[in-house]
């Protein structure tokens, strides 16, 4: 089932902000991402299984802050100790996950329909984040992720690429429109293109 857009009412296509006279490549590109599988995987405290021995889509689970383990289709984000987000374009992975993780050791929750996802691309994308998030972005690299707040809205940031910057922001679906407003307002100074 394809997911219903969380940002359909506010995501207007076009160029906005200080974009006149700027090259297309210098503008921040903002888009909404839909139809991703988002699964939260939490290992119970009583569980003694080593998560790095578990394999999903040829990826293992690493209990290390900031770390994202990924391939072309799937990304596993460290969320907190023994807690991961699995983001994938392969929707059929859910059955694989449910059969691989024993329910006596892990809690599996499908969050695919409860997140709004904004993707930003461009050299000034990090500058936009700095305007509302207190995190020190100088330490972040490609394939890092953090949980933090943007103008007091809780969000998860996934750095897909750092040259050029390509970032994904995940927020609770009900906060998606507020986060979108905050991000696009902060992007006006640099000029952005909604795609």
């Amino acid at each position: 089932m394809s997911s219903i857009s969380a940002l359909a009412n506010i995501h207007l296509l076009g160029k906005f902000g200080d974009q006149e006279g700027k090259k297309e490549n210098d503008l921040i590109k903002i888009s909404e991402i839909k139809n991703l599988l988002i699964v939260q995987i939490v290992q119970y405290k009583s569980s003694t299984i080593s998560p790095d021995k578990i394999n999903i889509d040829s990826l293992s689970f690493v209990n290390e802050p900031l770390k994202v383990i990924c391939n072309d289709n799937t990304r596993i984000l460290w969320n907190s100790p023994k807690n991961w987000f699995l983001i994938s374009t392969k929707k059929e992975l859910l059955n694989n996950i449910l059969s691989t993780f024993k329910e006596t050791d892990f809690a599996i929750t499908d969050l695919s329909h409860s997140r709004a996802i904004i993707e930003m691309e461009g050299k000034d994308a990090i500058e936009v984040l700095k305007k509302g998030c207190p995190f020190n972005f100088n330490i972040l690299k490609k394939n890092n992720s953090i949980n933090s707040s943007y103008n007091s809205i809780a969000f998860t940031l996934d750095i897909i690429n750092d040259n050029p910057n390509r970032l994904r922001l995940f927020a609770l679906r009900s906060f998606g429109e507020s986060l979108y407003h905050s991000i696009t307002d902060a992007s006006l100074e640099f000029g952005y293109k909604s795609i």
Binding site: P65, P81, N83, F135, I146, N147, S149, A154
Partner: protein, 89 residues
Amino acid sequence: MLYINCPHCGMRSQNEFSYGGDASVKRPELGKEVSDQEWNNFVYNRKSLRGKHWELWQHLFGCRQWIKVERDTATHEIFSTLKANEEIS
């Protein structure tokens, strides 16, 4: 801006945390006879120290874990942090 070193995530802004009270308070032992005064002390009575103090904080916008923070209540300087299950030495 005040920064707190989360033992799980690393150095983060205090904006991401929520204060959770005195970390040195211990619940009376389970099954033990507890006087009204002991229970009162556990639930309500708190010292308002000036100086170094162990506090509970929750990393609400990050890993959502509870941690212990040793903070100077006069200067706000933070000396050390521990995971919630680690004992204060």
